[in-house]
């Protein structure tokens, strides 16, 4: 098999199965098809005329060694060794279980702090924080655009004091913290660093991540402030800053999850993510950083969707392609620069409002494929995802789901247990091939940025979403409880999370107080300095941003100061 980008071609590759054995099997398959199969099909025809995976790959009724005959052993290999198909570490879960990282966030920093502590008491091993829409979009709680949304879908952060309340009583040196934040990520990172410095933490001991993947925003999640290029510069600055000052911190969590949730196929998810990765890496190396100095701290985030085996194949394929890309394209030398580590979230898009208890089952199966796919960290969705911010009950069940898989099933005792499955290896190959095709096509458009500017990613996603919606509507795609097995029974009553109606006003009042009590001249001075720094394309924005948050400049003030320099982004929607 020819693998593009792979110098494995020139080496002596090891066939898995001898030519003669393959012939033998081919004959046997042909014989089986004319006899047992033909006979059976006559009595019991298959239910569908064709079978395809979630991404559309044709799927056979049964797989044999014939299907992997051309796959060199080197492509499969061993966990912890290039091309890392089977996992980034040699011992995988025997060494350390995946991090159970349930996201939390609502109301004020203090309110979320309670939920974080609750989850840690229940056995969660890493923290993950989600923020309200205004914070995600860079608006202060008192901005007119924030009205009705403060503290609703996540926690509100305006000034560093909010972050202090968020992490009150939590030792940041001992637990890793993931922050789901994008266009305003660099500001939250600045607050995190400023807070750590205030508390006397060693920056090189802090572990965690900011999502900070702005490219997938333009294509999928649609959170943005500035146009594409200035935003890429900000991401570059955070990666460089972290590489130099925070050894254990992942400055980006390059994401496919949102591409999937926006309607993309599993193939789109991983291919577009890798294209985006390429763009980020190019940006950072172009300012003179050596790829091995920052690539080990690139981390990723994927969904675990409904097609059980395709997801496993997908995780293996994306690891393999990433390894090859980092080695061939960017000349990475350290294995850590080539081994992909990712967080997974089960697919919210598959969860339904009717019969919500079914969602527990969906989430369990998706969690299972994530584990079989070798994820490093996992968030399992709450059963009430279709309604609301998850309740404590829903989050507890979701967490128990992971704990049961981890501790009762023996699954984690073996790395990449599905390696060698004729089906899974074959599907992994199909996925890899298709990823390279998309990467090549994207390259022709000028890379991820060009592809996004031309609407290519958006169009693929919109088309796939439309087709899926139509096939669900015409019952070609079953959704249990929605278009099949519908029942009139009273659904399990889901307790919706109640947002305290006073929360928004409290936040606004607090912000007003902070602004009144700080040195406003100092803030103004620093914001001007920030603008000057921004105008110099080669300067790094992090240090001056850290200064700004220490002086109690608010997120909105920082974002607005730079709007004057960078402008704002308006989407050209693609249907």
């Amino acid at each position: 098999m020819e693998t593009p980008y792979s110098k494995l071609n020139s080496e002596q590759l090891t066939r898995l199965i001898e030519e003669s054995v393959v012939r033998q099997i081919e004959d046997e398959v042909a014989d089986w098809e004319s006899n047992e199969l033909a006979g059976f099909l006559e009595r019991v025809p298959e239910q569908k005329s064709e079978y395809r995976s979630g991404s559309g790959f044709p799927v056979k009724r049964v797989y044999t060694p014939e299907d992997v005959a051309d796959t060199p052993w080197e492509e499969i290999g061993l966990p912890g060794r290039y091309p890392f198909t089977r996992g980034p570490y040699p011992t995988m879960y025997r060494g350390r279980s995946w991090t159970m990282r349930q996201i939390a966030g609502f109301g004020s920093g203090a309110e979320t702090n309670e939920r974080l502590k609750y989850l840690v008491r229940q056995g969660q091993t890493g923290l993950s924080v989600d923020f309200d829409m205004p914070t995600l979009m860079g608006y202060d709680s008192d901005d007119s655009m924030s009205w009705g949304e403060v503290g609703r879908e996540g926690t509100a952060i305006d000034v560093i004091d909010d972050m202090e309340a968020l992490f009150e009583g939590i030792n940041l040196e001992e637990i890793s913290v993931s922050m789901t934040i994008n266009p305003s990520a660099w500001i939250l990172l600045a607050m995190y660093v400023a807070l750590a410095e205030e508390k006397g933490y060693d920056l090189n001991k802090l572990s965690g991540t900011i999502q900070n993947d702005i490219l997938k925003e333009y294509a999928a999640q649609k959170e943005w402030v500035y146009p594409i290029r200035p935003s890429m510069r900000i991401v570059r600055d955070t990666i460089v800053y972290c590489a130099r000052n925070m050894r254990r911190y992942n400055a980006v969590n390059i994401s496919g999850y949102h591409i999937s949730e926006a309607g993309g196929s599993p193939l789109h998810e991983v291919a577009f993510t890798l294209a985006n990765t390429k763009a980020f890496v190019q940006d950072v190396t172009s300012v003179g950083m050596d790829v091995d100095d920052f690539a080990p701290r690139l981390s990723f985030f994927f969904v675990s969707q409904a097609d059980f085996f395709e997801e496993i194949a997908k995780f293996r394929a994306v690891r393999r392609v990433y390894a090859k890309m980092m080695k061939e394209e960017f000349g990475a030398k350290k294995p850590e620069s080539m081994r992909m580590r990712f967080h997974t979230q089960t697919a919210a898009a598959t969860l339904t409002k009717p019969q919500p208890i079914n969602n527990i089952v969906r989430t369990t199966l998706q969690a299972l494929s994530a584990v079989l796919g070798g994820t490093q960290s996992l968030h399992t969705n709450g059963l009430d995802e279709a309604y609301t911010i998850p309740s404590e009950f829903a989050m507890k069940v979701a967490l128990r789901t992971q704990q049961i898989i981890a501790e009762e099933t023996n699954i984690p005792n073996v790395s990449d247990p599905l390696g060698g499955s004729y089906y899974v290896e074959s599907l992994t190959n199909d996925m890899e091939r298709a990823i390279w095709e998309i990467l090549e096509k994207t390259e022709e458009m000028g890379g991820a940025v060009g592809a996004i500017e031309q609407g290519y990613f958006q169009r693929e996603i919109a088309d796939f979403a439309y087709e899926l919606a139509q096939s669900k509507a015409h019952n070609d795609r079953t959704v249990v409880g929605v278009n099949k097995y519908i029942d009139d029974e009273e659904d399990h009553k889901v307790e919706t999370h109640a947002l305290d109606p006073e929360s928004e006003q409290r936040q606004i009042d607090f912000l007003k107080r902070v602004k009144a009590e700080r040195d406003n001249d100092e803030v103004e001075r620093i914001l001007k300095k920030l603008q000057d720094t921004a105008r110099d394309h080669d300067a790094n924005l992090m240090p001056v941003t850290i200064e700004a948050v220490k002086a109690r400049a608010s997120m909105g003030e920082i974002v607005n100061a730079l709007k004057e320099v960078f402008g704002t982004y308006t989407e050209t929607p693609v249907f």
Binding site: Y226, P227, V565, F566, G567, T568, T570, E571, T572, F575
Partner: protein
């Protein structure tokens, strides 16, 4: 507070007073051809004739809507009130349409001096729909100083726009995959002004140069004493520039073109063309409506069958239908 719509004023009076919901409703009427719309349009037509009508055309992807948005902000800064008609194609299969030009003008929404209306082509027989031209009349009568018509940018309407406007601006952008050579000859000829948008792109100068060369080669540098300018614009927000680079120049050029039309007397010729084109469009539309109307004259479907079965020749049938329906 008494609702304006409850007052005794007629719809056309409210349009002329600038009442937004009434303007909107009137445009819907001209699209649907409702009730006494002919009389209403007649009244508005006589009340109008003051607005400068500007056509903005160019291939999709050149950034027309963003440029229009920037341009309108500039025009507003010069105290002009503006009406915008943004045209998008109707699906030939379903007849439906997604009208998305408004999105790029969202920062104009709060400005009462700007009226934005999206119109679908609705199967217009190639070229600008009659309803579009009538909508221009409505906005003119409503007192707008300037009416901008932004076309789809493909097909006949690109060329047609010139017959409905005082000034036609053709927008192009560098590096759109097509060489300037690919710009259809028709486009080149109709422009009173060329705007090369996204001029901050590296290939921009090349595009501008090529356009100027093409104009010279085809002898279109000067028409009726007007030297056709090729402007460089950067319509996208930001980079610290309020109205976008080159946009104030575009607004200047538009003003100068209109002054030129007036001072050279060229405006009469243009407006004569506009009137003639309008009449022809209406005649075409009305004639076809009447011919297809089953209650008037010979049956259209039967006539079609005659032609298909070669019982009668097409030309004969057409003349017969016209003579007996219209």
């Amino acid at each position: 507070m008494a609702r304006v719509t409850d007052s005794a004023q007629s719809l056309t009076e409210r349009v002329r007073a600038g009442h937004v919901p009434s303007i909107a409703r009137m445009i819907s009427h001209v699209e649907s051809g409702a009730n006494n719309v002919a009389e209403q349009v007649a009244e508005l037509y006589k009340a109008g004739g003051h607005a400068r009508i500007i056509g903005i055309t160019g291939a999709p992807g050149a950034g027309k809507s963003t440029l229009v948005s920037s341009l309108v902000r500039e025009l507003r800064a010069r105290d002009n009130t503006v009406g915008i008609i943004a045209i998008d194609p109707s699906s030939p299969f379903s007849g439906g349409s997604i009208l998305g030009d408004r999105i790029r003008m969202s920062d104009l929404y709060h400005d009462p001096g700007v009226f934005i209306r999206s119109m679908a082509t609705r199967g217009a027989l190639g070229g600008l729909a009659r309803a579009t031209i009538d909508a221009v009349t409505v906005l003119d009568a409503a007192g707008k100083d300037i009416v901008l018509v932004e076309t789809v940018g493909v097909g006949q309407d690109e060329v047609d726009i010139v017959r409905a406007c005082h000034t036609t601006v053709v927008v192009s952008a560098p590096g759109m995959g097509d060489d300037v050579q690919a710009i259809k000859a028709g486009i080149l000829e109709i422009a009173d002004v060329h705007a090369v948008n996204k001029a901050d792109r590296p290939e921009a100068n090349k595009t501008i140069g090529e356009l100027k060369t093409m104009l010279k080669d085809s002898g279109h540098v000067l028409t009726d004493g007007w030297k056709i300018p090729v402007l460089a614009t950067v319509a996208e927000h930001g980079q610290g520039v309020e109205h976008g680079q080159g946009v104030d120049e575009l607004a200047d050029v538009m003003e100068r073109h209109y002054e030129h039309l007036v001072s050279s007397g060229e405006i009469e010729r243009r407006e004569r063309n506009m009137a003639a084109h309008r009449l022809k469009t209406i005649i075409q539309g009305v004639a076809l409506d009447r011919v297809e109307d089953p209650s008037v004259g010979p049956d259209f479907d039967a006539a079609v069958e005659d032609v298909r079965l070669r019982k009668r020749a097409p030309f004969t049938v057409a003349l017969d239908l016209l003579e007996n329906s219209v």
